[in-house]
Subunit: 455 residues, 2 copies
C-alpha cells in the first residue's frame, strides 16, 4: 500500500496540472452550443482513463451527451464497485461576477477556482489518479472497477436511466461509489447517508395575445406579470411552509436520534449566515437550520423573466412571462406526485382569464443509505485513514438522482464519499476546490478500494 | 386654401416615401448604443424642415438627446402656435414577433408598418408636410409657428423641462399643438381633452450576497424572487383596486356628465377584447372599461428579471432580482407623492432580512384641457373639415408629460389632435400607421393652422 501512497504524493503537481486541463473544457450540458465541447470532454476523460492503465474504455452515445464507460475486472472473487461521477458542469452566468474566467482555472490561497472544480470534475479526477496509482505501482486494483461518468447530471440525467436499464450487465456491481458531496466543514471529514430529492417545474403565464401599451390599455387587461407574482407568492406561507395541499403528507418525520446527532455537530450558524451574506437565516419554523437544509422539503424560485428588462422605462403590458421553481424533497415524497400537486395548486392560484402552462423539467426522489451496510463501514475506515479522523455522519440538501436509480435498477447501495466544502460555490460564480481536500481525496479513494476489497 | 390642399393630394406618394426615410433611422432613445442614430435623426428632421421652407431651424444639444427647434414668425398680429412632437421611438423587443423588421418600413393593406410609424414620427411628419404645403403654395403660414421636436419622450423627457425653462422666450406661444394621440376608432375623428399621468418605479430586491445552490442552502435563506413576488402581488387586490394606502385620496371623481358621454360612444368592448387577444376584459370593479382606461388610475408590472432564464434547469437561489412597475394617474394625483406612497408600501410588504431598493424612473401628472377654449373649438372645426365629421370628445389613457409642463411653465393650453388608431400597436411589435389617417392628418394640420389664425 505504501508505494501507492508515495506515488500519489510524488504526483501532486501533475494531478493539479491535469485537472486544470480537464477544467479548461467548457462542458456546460444545458447549452446546446456546447455539444462539441461535451464530446471533447468525454473523449479527454476516456483517453485519460486509458493513460491510467484502464484497458477497456468507451465513449458511448446516448440520446443526449455521451457516457464515459470503462472497466477493469482483473480481481476475480473480489467485489465489484461502480464508480459514478459527472463531467458536465453548471452554466456560468452571471459571468461578470467571476474574479477569474470560469474556464481559465486559477490557483489562489490553496484553492483551485474554475467552473466544475468541485462539482464534479475535481472529484472525478481524484478517482482517476487513485486508480492510476494502483495500476502503475502494483499492476492491479484491489477490487473490480466499473466506471460510469455521465454528461447530463446538471440537466436532470434525462438519458441516464434508459442507459442504465439497457447496459445493466456492463454496470453490474456490488456497490456504487460517488464523490459528489461535501464535507460538513473544512477539516471535518464526512460520510453522507442521505440526499434530498428534487421536483423542478417551469411555470409560464400568458395574458394578452400581444404586448400592449399600458397607457392605452391599462385598466382593460389583467397583467400577466402580476398574475405570476400572485401564483408564486401563494406557494409558501410566512412561516416558511410550502402551502401546496398534500405537500407534507408523505414526509418521513426526523427521528429523535437524528435530531440529536445533528445538534451535536454544533453547526456554525453565524458562519453560514456570513458565508451566504444574509442578514438572517430563515426557513420553516419549528426546525433548526441543519434540519431544514438536510431533512425537510423546501421550495425555491430559481428564475423569473418577462417584459422589459433593459435600462430606463418601457410602458408595456407584456403578453408573456415565466418562472422556474423547484422543491427539494425528502423521504418518502414522490417527485412525480409532488409535481402534480404543484400543478394543481398553481392552477388554483392563477387568476381567471390568464393562460397557465406548467411543465415538469425534472425530478428525483430522496435517498437514505443504511449506516450499518459493510460498504458504508469500509468507507468510514478509508476516510479516517486519509484524513486522520473518523467521518461525521451527515445528510445533504442536494440531490444526486442517479443514487435512487442505482438502488431501483441495479439493486445496490451507494457510498457517498465527497470532499467538497460547503463554501465551494457549486452552481455559483467563483466555484473552487480546496486543493488539500483534492490531494487527501486521492488518498481516500485509494484506501477506499482496498477497504471495499475486504468488505 | 384650395391650392394648399391640392398640393397635399399631389404629394401623397412623396409624403409616404419621405416618412419611410424618417422611419428607417432607429432612434431608440433608451438604448445608449443608439445615440449616434438619435443625432442623425434630429439632423434629418431639421434638414427636412429647412427643405419645407423653414428658414430658422436648429438642433440644440441637451444633457441627453438633442431637441429640434425651429420658427417661422412672419405673420405679425396672428397667434403663435408651438408644434410639439417626438422623434424618438420605443425599443423593439421582442424582435422575433415582428412580421417585417421594425426599421425596414413596409406597406401592407393600407398600413405602414415600422417602429415609430404612429408614435410619433408619422404624426410629426404630417405637420412637416402641412407646413410645406403653405410655404410652397402661398409663401407664408396663416399663423406664427414655433417647433419643438424632442428625442426623449419615450424615456420620460428628462432634459426637456430644464430646456423649456431655459428657452422660454424661443418657445413662447398662445397654444401648443400635439399630434401624438389616437382616434376613438377607425373613421371616428376625435379630439382628446384628457391624458393620464404616470409614476414609473423600479423595484430591486437582494437576498444572499451571492448566488447559492438551492440543494445545499434551500431551507436556510429567504428567496429574493419569492420576496419580489410577495411585494408585487400585494400591490393590487382581487377587485382590481390598487392597495397602496392613500393611492385614491386625490383622485377627482368622474362627472356624471362624462360617464354619460363615455357611455354614449357605444364602445366596442368585444372588439377590444379580440384586438387585445384576452379571454375577458378586466379591471377595477364598479367602472366601465372606457372609464378604467381613460379616467381611473391603474397599476401595471412592465418587466421582471432575476436568476436563471435559460433553457433547462439551474438550481440556484439568485442573489438579486427586480421589476419595473408603473401607475397611470388621473387628476389630481401628484406623481411624486404617489411615488412616495408606493415606496412606503413596498417597504411594508418586503419580508424582513431582504434588501429593497425602490427608485423613481419618471413621472408626470395627468392633464385636462378645457373644452370651451377657442383653440379647442378651432381644432374641432379643422378636424371636421379634414375628415368630414365633427370629432368626438375623448380622454386618453396614455401620458404626454410635456402637456403639463406647457401649462405650468409656458402658461398655455394644448390641442391634442392625433390621428393614430387604437390598434396601431404603439410600444408593441408590428406598430403601424393607417395611411388614410396620415394623408387626412396632413389636411387636418393645414386646416388647423388656418382655424387657429382666426381664434
Amino acid at each position: 500500500m505504501s508505494s501507492v501512497h508515495e506515488w500519489i504524493d510524488a504526483n501532486r503537481d501533475r494531478a493539479v496540472e491535469e485537472l486544470i486541463e480537464f477544467l479548461r473544457i467548457p462542458s456546460i450540458s444545458t447549452d446546446p452550443e456546447r455539444s462539441d465541447d461535451m464530446r471533447r470532454c468525454a473523449d479527454w476523460l476516456a483517453r485519460r482513463l486509458g493513460g491510467a492503465g484502464f484497458t477497456r474504455t468507451e465513449v458511448i452515445p446516448t440520446g443526449g451527451h455521451p457516457v464515459v464507460w470503462g472497466e477493469w475486472m482483473g480481481a476475480p472473487g473480489k467485489p465489484t464497485i461502480l464508480l459514478y461521477g459527472h463531467y458536465d458542469v453548471q452554466p456560468v452566468d452571471p459571468l461578470e461576477l467571476w474574479e477569474t474566467p470560469p474556464f481559465e482555472p486559477s490557483v489562489r490561497d490553496g484553492n483551485l477556482f474554475a467552473r466544475g472544480s468541485s462539482d464534479d470534475k475535481g472529484q472525478i479526477f481524484m478517482h482517476v489518479m487513485a486508480l492510476e496509482s494502483y495500476l502503475r505501482q502494483t499492476g492491479r486494483l484491489p477490487v473490480n472497477v466499473r466506471i460510469l461518468f455521465e454528461g447530463e447530471e446538471e440537466i436532470g440525467s434525462e438519458h441516464l436511466t434508459p442507459f442504465i436499464r439497457k447496459q445493466r450487465e456492463r454496470l453490474a456491481a456490488d456497490v456504487a461509489v460517488v464523490s459528489d458531496t461535501a464535507m460538513f466543514a473544512k477539516g471535518i471529514p464526512s460520510l453522507t447517508y442521505g440526499l434530498r430529492g428534487l421536483c423542478y417545474m417551469q411555470v409560464e403565464v400568458t395574458g394578452p395575445r400581444r404586448d400592449l401599451h399600458s397607457g392605452s390599455y391599462g385598466g382593460a387587461s389583467r397583467n400577466p406579470l402580476l398574475a405570476l407574482a400572485t401564483i408564486l407568492s401563494g406557494l409558501q406561507d410566512r412561516d416558511g411552509r410550502v402551502t401546496i395541499p398534500g405537500f407534507y403528507d408523505s414526509v418521513r418525520p426526523l427521528l429523535d436520534e437524528e435530531r440529536r446527532e445533528f445538534a451535536s455537530l454544533n453547526f456554525d450558524e453565524d458562519g453560514l449566515r456570513k458565508e451566504m451574506g444574509v442578514e438572517e437565516l430563515w426557513g420553516e419554523s419549528g426546525y433548526t437550520v441543519l434540519e431544514r437544509m438536510w431533512a425537510r422539503p423546501t421550495l425555491d424560485v430559481h428564475g423569473l423573466w418577462g417584459g422589459f428588462q433593459g435600462a430606463g422605462a418601457k410602458t408595456v403590458i407584456p403578453s408573456h412571462c415565466g418562472a422556474k421553481v423547484s422543491m427539494r424533497l425528502v423521504p418518502d415524497q414522490d417527485s412525480a406526485a409532488i409535481g402534480k400537486l404543484f400543478t394543481e395548486h398553481a392552477r388554483r392560484l392563477c387568476p381567471p382569464g390568464i393562460q397557465l402552462q406548467v411543465s415538469d423539467v425534472h425530478g428525483a426522489n430522496a435517498v437514505i443509505v443504511p449506516l450499518d451496510h459493510p460498504a458504508i463501514r469500509a468507507a468510514s475506515r478509508a476516510i479516517e485513514k486519509a484524513f486522520g479522523r473518523a467521518p461525521v455522519k451527515i445528510r445533504e440538501g442536494g440531490s444526486i438522482p442517479v443514487v435512487g436509480t442505482f438502488k431501483e435498477l441495479l439493486g445496490m447501495p451507494t457510498v457517498l464519499a465527497g470532499v467538497g466544502l460547503p463554501d465551494d460555490a457549486a452552481h455559483a460564480p467563483n466555484e473552487k476546490f480546496h486543493l488539500e481536500n483534492f490531494h487527501g481525496g486521492i488518498h481516500m479513494a485509494a484506501y477506499l478500494y482496498e477497504e471495499l476489497a475486504g468488505m
